[in-house]
Amino acid sequence: MLVRTLKRLADRYKHRDSAHQHLFEPYRGHEVISIDCEMTGLDVKQDEIISLAAVRIEGHQIHSGEAFEAKVDHRDRLGADSIVIHHIRKMDLEDAVPMETALMALIEFIGNRPILGYNLQFDLKFLDRYTQPLLGLSLPNRTIELADVYRQKVVSRQPDAVPHLGFEAILEDLDLPVFGRHTALGDATTVAMAYVKLMQRS
């Protein structure tokens, strides 16, 4: 986290006059953006993001209808071979856009609002790998980790509890319906739902 904070300060200085300056403005509203990325694998250095989704949370409401969702086509950067290397199927590329387009749209969607995710740092590491060369920044937004929120809520209720922080375990404990699992939008929506429930509980 400290590293991220330092990075943010450095990026902010660097972008003080750029088009992305607004991303560094402190956010004063109450909305949160739940994001999720699907990758070809778990290796931050080798694997690729194949889809991105983000959904806006406003109080008890999740604006799923106007959600952001993009499939990424890497052929422009990596060549057509990436399809073989990363086992990206043809169908995954229908309606897909280049990474730069997807990233710019995602950043536009998020603005300076806080971002929420499960195991968010992992997704952010992937995103950094693209944002740094393309834009010269890491996403500067405040981050909210669902597992942290969950742990705090559980501990505040039962101080001795050692909560299971696995995604499935959290969902099961919260007894929530699971939205389209293993799609970026489905997972982003599920995480949003869990967050809304946890925040309303207190």
Binding site: P177, V178, R181, M193
Partner: protein, 617 residues
Amino acid sequence: MVSEVLNTSIPPFDLLSHEQIETLQQSVSIAYFQAGQDIIAAGGNPEGLYIIIKGKVEEYDESISGTRDDQRVAQYSEGDLFGSLAVLKGRARDKYQAFEECICHLVPARVFIDLVHDNPEFRHFFHKGLATMEKQRLRLTVPQGADDFSLVRIRDSVLRDPLIVAPSTSIADVVLAMRDAHIDCALVECESCDENYGLVTGTDLLDALALDGLARETPVETITTRELITVNASEFLFNALILMTRKHIKRVVVMDHGEVVGVSELTDILSYLTGQTHLAGVQIEKAKTVAELADASRALHALIRTLNAKGVKIRFMMELLAALNGRLVAKLYEISMPSEVLENTALTVLGSEGRWEQIVKTDQDNALIIADDFVWPDDVRIPLLNQFTEDLISIGFPRCPGNIMVSNPEWAQTISAWKATMTAWTQDMSEASQMNMAISLDGHFVAGNKALYQGLSHWAHDHMRGNDIFLAHFAQPVLSFGVPLTLFGNVKSDSQGLDIKKAGIFPLVHGVRSLALKYRIRQTNTYRRIEELVAAGAIHERLGRNLESALSLFMQLRLQTQIEQLEAAGTDDGSQVTHNRIDVTGLNRLDRDLLREALHVIKEFKEWLALELHIRG
């Protein structure tokens, strides 16, 4: 797993265009509510239309004085829509509260209003009327491409070209012509007949040759039946079938604009309807023994399943099954009783059988009217009637738990004795007497001497005339069970389901029966009573239509449950159908909507009836 997008393949969203669906999907959000949280406040301006993904919501009318339970007007569960009326009116009359943790899709008010404004069909859906919703339901339940059998007309289905012969044709030539035409009857030209034709059937020809010893050269006019039983070509197939069953005939002559256009054979109709050549009606008529009748009776269960699966309208099914069951009972009586008994008695079926509203045979209710001057010694009568009741049980009419059967001397009386009994019932006003009266008023003649039945029936209706005090008492039980507008109740305690008989069927049937009595309507079938009440101006047309729709829905849901129960028990024995409970949670959303609406109809009907008949709850 649920979807983050709204399922637009289900009504009413399937009425929207592609662009409208796109607009809708982009505006939908997902909302979370804790148990007890207000989703729409009474008097508030709702955010939009809600569609429940998970959880239950209750609607309260806080203008009703009384407890929370009194104020609760509806309950909604997964897949249900609520808030539409509040959005369209711009203000919520009732309060909507999350009964348990709730997750809903939310269509913003402005988007919903635009869709309602732009799409007339979509708008129509939200102008909730039971009849409209029923159409929606039909759209769903009748499989695509399948005919709605209850709407098939004779002209389009089973019309055969008639074989027409001159009156002077010899019997032998008619037989040959019939064989060539593969038809079992011929129309005989006949100027003096009403329809310009008479009819001769294969059986007539056989009887003439084999039994009456007529010569092969005899002109056919000597054995022609001059009075034809006709139907119009535009008549529903089902009505022709019911007519044939009631008159136990095997064919009808089909007319169009006063001209004979053909004949329809029972076998053709049954094959057309069931897609199988097993002929329930024919089997009953052919039966000579109790065992054969039992076979015919069992075959009816297959017929019920087929008709139900084909989406045949419940009202037609009830009439058809009533006609077939009526013939079963009549046939058994005819083969069991000596001719002097048939001439001096009238067998009557009562209750739901008499109203033609029993599909699965769940019990037998019957009574016997005996001529006053008929000498029928106990030692002859008692064993004969006991045997008849036992035989009815063995052919599939379960024993009546209330012992309303001819084997019970209280239900097998002479005309004078019946008059004394009924007079006592109307004066006594005990609950049992009133129910006996109610059951008897639904009586329908099935076998024996019809004049005996008609005489007593006339007397009974005259006797009741103007007896308002009795009427008020008689109708009282309509109010005795509350209408469970909260379909799901407390889910745990109501796991047995909704008692559809207490909640809906009984108040409706008995209320209509009471009105029929007041307005001297002699029909026994509830639909026909309603039609005549509307015609007499006793009830408003809209209420009449709603009552008919509600009754059909209750009957349909009950039949579904009964069929499932029988299948689970692996039997066709109707006595195994042990309850009238409907698993509400197992219904699809549209059926739940309909049920909710139908129960509201019952509630309004009860309130109206209480004023109309001066009864208090």
